[in-house]
């Protein structure tokens, strides 16, 4: 069996805001093995990005507050690490690709400045010379198939297109040879043909470097094509997890089912009704299972108790009382 890389248990994160306390992550469980490609799928505001940012410990404190749980990365708890340790983790272990490449790149520094800084700190002990760092930067731009890498190093982010900028973010994330890559909606701001190109590139680079990856997205289609295992998240809880093929064949949680039915299909059979209601208000989250006000098969127990994970065989778990037995 492969070594466990990341193990999140019962993570609770909230935000203090004007008007109260938003309890966003309500006991998140997540684990992945080394080399795995895991998808994290859910709708806007379900806590996907909060989870990812917790792993990198980059949520602004305050307003963010972690009130419980552990995040074990290679057996060490990220939550108790010092600033210096976290910086080392960022430099060498975990990289992140953000949704919006325009916001992720600093507009007043050239691509070269930013890319070379990332490389410099990723190899603190290698003592690379400036020229070597530059060569490495050029090479990593070539890896993401950007033509004319030398020129791009001198460019500012505004001089490049959205697809190119996202490729630079990918180059930056992969140049450091991190163990874990967190890709947060890496292609949402791109067109479908560009999305396809960027993902194919990302896919082949991860394969080549054997990087463990978490792909965060709201697109079920992307998850199906790019991951091995999936977590479905709703309102700060992982409601279901299974191997990708199994999940798409046999979704169990009513939320997953509703979500899958709501995706428009190429077969053109019309669109299911969607899910009634909307994502809960985190100031006053529903009691018990957070999905119960929208759930078509709600029972009495759902309103009172928070469901645990019920094992449904084949690596398939779901937090729903329908599967108690």
């Amino acid at each position: 069996m492969k070594k466990r890389l990341l193990d999140i248990r019962n993570l609770e994160v909230g935000f203090t805001v004007y008007g109260g306390y938003l309890k966003v992550l309500n006991g998140v469980h997540f684990d992945m093995a080394e080399g795995e490609k895991v998808g994290l799928v859910g709708e806007t505001g379900c806590g996907k990005t909060t989870t990812a940012k917790s792993v990198l410990k980059i949520l602004p404190v305050p307003p963010a507050q972690t009130t419980g749980g552990t995040i074990l990365f290679k057996g060490r708890d990220i939550l108790t690490m010092s600033r210096n340790e976290i910086r080392d983790i960022h430099a060498r272990e975990i990289s992140m690709i953000f949704q919006d490449p325009t916001a992720a790149l600093n507009p007043v520094f050239t691509i070269g400045d930013q890319l070379m800084t990332a490389i410099k700190y990723s190899n603190l002990h290698d003592g690379m010379s400036k020229r070597e760092i530059r060569q490495k930067a050029v090479q990593s731009l070539k890896e993401v198939q950007l033509p004319d890498a030398e020129r791009i190093l001198e460019n500012y982010p505004v001089q490049l297109s959205g697809g190119m900028r996202q490729r630079i973010c990918i180059a930056m994330a992969l140049a450091t040879r991190s163990t874990l890559l967190v890709a947060d909606e890496p292609t949402t701001s791109l067109d479908v043909t560009i999305q396809d190109q960027v993902l194919r590139l990302l896919g082949s680079l991860i394969q080549e470097k054997d990087t463990s990856t978490i792909l965060i997205t709201h697109s079920l289609g992307l998850v199906r094509e790019w991951t091995e295992r999936v977590y479905v998240m709703y309102a700060g809880v992982m409601v279901e997890t299974a191997d990708t093929a199994e999940l798409f064949k046999n979704p169990l949680h009513p939320y997953t089912k509703g979500l899958m039915a709501a995706v428009p299909k190429l077969t053109g059979e019309g669109i299911a009704a969607g899910i009634e209601g909307r994502i809960p208000d985190y100031l006053h989250p529903p009691s018990g299972c957070r999905f119960h006000p929208r759930c078509p098969s709600v029972m009495d127990i759902c309103k009172k108790e928070k469901p645990l994970y019920f094992d449904c065989g084949d690596n398939h778990k779901t937090a729903c009382f329908l599967y108690r037995d």
């Binding site: 560009i194 396809d196 079920l220 199906r224 094509e225 798409f248 190429l266 077969t267 969607g274 909307r278």
Partner: protein
């Protein structure tokens, strides 16, 4: 033969900028029949919104002809008669910015009634309640303001506002792309119900082809200000002719095996949409085309119809280089 509600012929909209002329719409021709949904697909920068805004009268056309219900509407947009403005409405992409956050829903829905004076003052509240009912929102939403309601509900309000003047033609400019799928499903279904109920004609703009498959009756695909292919939906997806259409279709991520089989064989997508200031010579797609030929970089293909109802603008089909 169905009645044509809107006909665009060789419609052009050019913008003059410091860097040169942007040919956002460059000779677009199409027709929309009554009570159908024409889907307009394309990547960002392909000019689909420009076409919509020109029809809407937000931009005056540079040249070409727009005929709505046998009335020429190409000319000066500010002089459009009110009755025409009443008949053509639009729903924008982002309800967060298309609804004034400082107005109540009641004020938002009342404005079109005031401007067009279609409903006497004492009946307006009633009419607003009716509009809310049409989009399945409770009547007390009248007293709320846009920031206090969810994104899906806001888009429903934007739809209600478009319906306020009893239009026959509505432009839907990516009405659900800012929303989640579970909410999108509800809005799309509502739009389709309303279309049947009120005999509406839609021009539906999106970049989501799977959504288009379920919503449109005919699909037109745009690339750099020109229409590449136009066909009835079922035919379009079963038998895409233009290499660009094939590339787009094979790039969509899908959720089931059945869908996978419907996609054309993997066409590897390459390149990006060029800047519309520097449109490549000949066929504007030739730089990215997997099947380009020598002629493609020289002659811009004409739109031709290899089959009935199925038009394509590509040199792979005989006749495209003529004239």
């Amino acid at each position: 033969m169905e009645n044509i509600i809107l006909r665009a012929h060789d419609l052009k909209k050019h913008f003059h900028t410091k860097r040169g002329v942007v040919r956002a719409a460059d000779g677009v021709s199409f027709t929309i029949n009554e009570q159908e949904t024409l889907g307009l697909v394309g990547e960002s920068g392909s000019g689909k919104s420009t076409v919509a805004y020109t029809v809407m009268g937000i931009y005056p056309a540079t040249s070409g002809e727009l005929v709505f219900k046998s009335q020429d509407i190409t000319g000066e947009t500010k002089k459009r008669p009110k009755a025409l403005k009443q008949d053509i409405q639009i729903v924008f992409q982002d309800p967060g910015s298309s609804l004034n956050p400082r107005r109540t829903i009641r004020q938002i829905l009342e404005l079109p009634l005031q401007v067009h004076n279609t409903v006497p003052k004492q009946h307006r509240a009633e009419r607003i309640a009716k509009l809310l009912e049409m989009v399945e929102l409770p009547v007390d939403f009248m007293y709320k303001s846009p920031p206090s309601i969810g994104g899906g509900e806001r888009q429903m309000i934007a739809i209600a506002r478009a319906l306020a003047t009893d239009p026959s033609f509505i432009i839907l400019d990516e009405p659900t792309s800012a929303l989640d799928v579970s909410v999108q499903a509800k809005i799309i279904n509502k739009l389709m119900d309303l279309q049947k109920e009120l005999n509406l004609t839609y021009m539906f703009i999106t970049h989501d082809l799977s959504l288009m498959r379920n919503m449109a009756s005919r699909v037109a695909i745009m690339y750099l200000g020109k229409i590449c292919e136009i066909a009835p939906t079922a035919e379009f997806f079963k038998n895409p002719l233009h290499p660009y259409t094939q590339m787009l279709l094979s790039s969509i991520p899908v959720v089931s095996e059945q869908e996978e089989e419907l996609k054309p064989k993997k066409v590897v997508s390459t390149g990006e949409i060029p800047s519309p200031v520097n449109v490549p010579p000949g066929c504007s797609f030739h730089l990215r085309c997997p099947r380009r030929m020598e002629v493609c970089s020289r002659i811009d293909p004409k739109i031709i119809a290899p089959k009935e109802n199925h038009q394509v603008r590509c040199h792979l089909f005989p006749g495209a280089a003529d004239g």
